[in-house]
């Protein structure tokens, strides 16, 4: 299958008054892939993401999304992308259905709120308020709001931080579904197992720079080729596998 690049980032730089958050990074995201941006806190992941999402101004460099310029065509880009923010709020007194109707208006799309909730497994929470949801449900709802405009690209900023193992796996399944329906996914995470399982390619950021970019497999192979060995013999299962086999793997109301 022919792969086209859907996001091009060239020499992107972001300087705050006293802090150089992004120091000239370049990368491309291919259409239809799940692209991971990894790195410790403060590495510049969120800043990079928010610049691409047209929520933050860049200092220099160029970024194009779906062939559109982030500076001059921000509003066109916003119609083509779905953005899940690391921290986002919703009107506290509205129900999930009412919030989805709000976003359908904001995106000028007619939707059936119940279908949207069904996509993320929250049909039975239609009348609940956002604050009454568990961590995993909140993230699933946030993703539902990003799917309203059938976006070409979905940006997810640390969607699984703070979730328990089941909720993380639920979310992985949801993200894979979204990709399988044709969207490109850009995701940031701290969890390497998540990146390894979910991402087609990952960029590793540290202190505002990309220090590695490849498929997870290739990155592992490169490290092994340098003669790296794990200190402990790898067993066929790890503690998380134990936990999941003990507590179950299904979608539950966390």
């Amino acid at each position: 299958m022919q792969k086209n690049s859907i996001i091009q980032v060239n020499n992107l730089e972001k300087k705050y008054e006293s802090f150089h958050a992004v120091k000239g990074i370049s990368f491309e995201v291919q259409e239809g892939e799940i692209f991971g941006i990894l790195g410790p806190n403060g590495a510049g992941k969120t800043t990079t993401l928010e610049i691409i999402e047209t929520l933050r101004d860049k200092t220099s460099g160029s970024v194009s999304v779906c062939g559109l310029n982030i500076e001059t065509q921000a509003n066109d880009i916003k119609q083509l992308i779905g953005v899940q923010l690391q921290a986002a709020g919703y009107y506290p007194s509205l129900t999930l259905v009412e919030l989805l109707l709000l976003f359908s208006g904001l995106y000028n799309r007619e939707i059936n709120p119940m279908n949207m909730l069904a996509k993320v497994g929250l049909e039975d929470k239609a009348k609940a308020k956002f604050k009454e949801l568990s961590g995993g449900q909140k993230q699933r709802f946030s993703i539902a709001t990003t799917l309203i405009n059938q976006p070409k690209i979905i940006f997810l900023d640390e969607p699984t931080t703070g979730l328990d193992p089941q909720a993380r796996r639920n979310l992985w399944d949801l993200i894979r579904n979204v990709r399988d329906e044709g969207a490109t996914v850009v995701i940031t995470t701290h969890y390497m197992d998540e990146a390894e399982q979910l991402c087609d390619r990952v960029a590793v950021m540290e202190a505002g720079k990309i220090i590695a970019l490849d498929t997870p497999d290739a990155l592992i192979d490169q490290l092994v080729a340098t003669g790296f060995e794990r200190k402990k013999e790898v067993k066929k299962a790890n503690l998380e596998d134990v936990f999941l086999s003990l507590t179950g793997n299904e979608w539950k109301d966390e």
């Binding site: 119609q79 923010l85 009107y91 709000l102 000028n108 799309r109």
Partner: protein, 366 residues
């Protein structure tokens, strides 16, 4: 995508208005400020029927009660006569102003005349004067009668013009309406924009194609619809339940709603300024109170500004609510049109220009 060109900011704005309106109607503080407080005041003052004078008068012990003066007094509804009260209590109540006067009527020992002694108090000076002149009038009539004068040398013919009866509600309701608009405008707007920033609701909006000014307009529209529905409710309740005067009926009602809208827009400007300069949620109420409290007290909400000392009058006369209240009363009771209150509207709009200039300077998106 073919939808790109057809994106309607208006549609997106109305989606925000609708959501925000739902949110407001579920917020207890908005409902309390807009409706419950003004309603309580209107109800309390609506039942206060002003009008006739009532004089609390006590009779001294041993006062003669078998004379035409006494009979004249008790048959006059203006006098509420207290008998059987000892001298010490009478004195005490008179000094406090609870009693307006003490009357002692004594028959002369030598002839058939009467001597009337009236005690009044500085604590109720005005009513003391009224009591005195009413007694004098009563005695004059009796004197004329006893002198057999049937054609007095002069008499007053009073002709009262059939004016509209100005009830307490006619004064109170416009004031309460103004206060309701002021608090909804200032508190509501200040909290909403601060909270939208704090809770990142506004950040999520930024990630959608709606343009920033439309977010503000959408929120403002929801506030306006809510506050104006509240205003209409107060006016109609006042009219039908408490006899609030709407001189020209529907026209007056519409004019009042238009005035409400203009006032509200200006007051919301204060709210924007407060939300812009507030550092945290805790500083919003004091800042909003600095705007609302002086106007609540000094703008003729409860009593006319003429009652304030002259050094305070200039302050009263720069506050926008003073002019809104004034315009409301003129429209509602005197039947003035919007053109007739253009001076008041001018001051209100001047405030609007100043405050929105400031609001644009201090407004923060993040």
């Amino acid at each position: 995508m073919n939808n790109n060109q057809n994106y309607s900011q208006l549609k997106a704005m109305l989606a925000i208005s609708k959501a925000s309106f739902r949110s407001i109607t579920r917020s207890p503080s908005a409902v309390v400020f807009t409706l419950v407080f003004p309603l309580i005041f209107i109800t309390v003052f609506g039942f206060l029927k002003g009008g006739s004078v009532s004089l609390d008068v006590a009779l001294s012990p041993g006062c003669d009660t078998k004379n035409p003066i006494y009979i004249g007094m008790i048959s006059n509804p203006a006098f509420s006569v207290q008998e059987k009260m000892d001298t010490t209590t009478q004195k005490k109540l008179l000094l406090k102003g609870t009693l307006d006067a003490i009357v002692n009527i004594q028959r002369s020992a030598t002839d058939s005349t009467y001597n009337v002694k009236l005690y009044t108090t500085m604590a109720s000076a005005e009513k003391g004067i009224i009591a005195k002149s009413m007694l004098e009038h009563l005695i004059d009539k009796l004197n004329l009668k006893s002198a057999n004068i049937t054609t007095p040398m002069a008499k007053i013919e009073q002709e009262q013009l059939q004016g509209r009866i100005y009830e307490t509600i006619d004064f109170i309701l416009p004031g309460q309406l103004g206060f309701s608009l002021l608090s909804t405008g200032v508190f509501g707007t200040a909290f909403v924009f601060f909270n939208l920033r704090q809770t990142l609701v506004i950040k999520r909006f930024f990630a959608t194609p709606i343009k920033r000014p439309y977010i503000v307009l959408g929120e403002a529209l929801a506030r306006m619809v809510f506050a104006l529905l509240g205003a209409m409710f107060l006016i109609l309740l006042g009219h039908y339940a408490f006899g609030f005067t709407l001189v020209n009926g529907l026209t007056t009602f519409v004019d009042m709603v238009i005035l409400s809208a203009i006032g509200l827009i200006v007051f919301m400007g204060f709210g924007f300024v407060v939300s812009g300069i507030a550092k945290n949620e805790g500083t919003i109420p004091p800042l909003a109170n600095i705007v609302t409290l002086p106007q609540f007290l000094l703008s003729g909400t409860f009593f006319g500004i003429d009652n304030f000392p002259s050094w305070l009058q200039p302050v009263c006369k720069i506050l926008p609510l003073t002019y809104l209240n004034d315009a409301m009363r003129k429209v509602a009771f005197e039947g003035a049109g919007l053109m007739d209150v253009s001076a008041q509207l001018g001051v209100i709009l001047l405030w609007g220009v100043i405050i929105y200039f400031a609001a644009v300077k201090v407004f923060r998106w993040e």
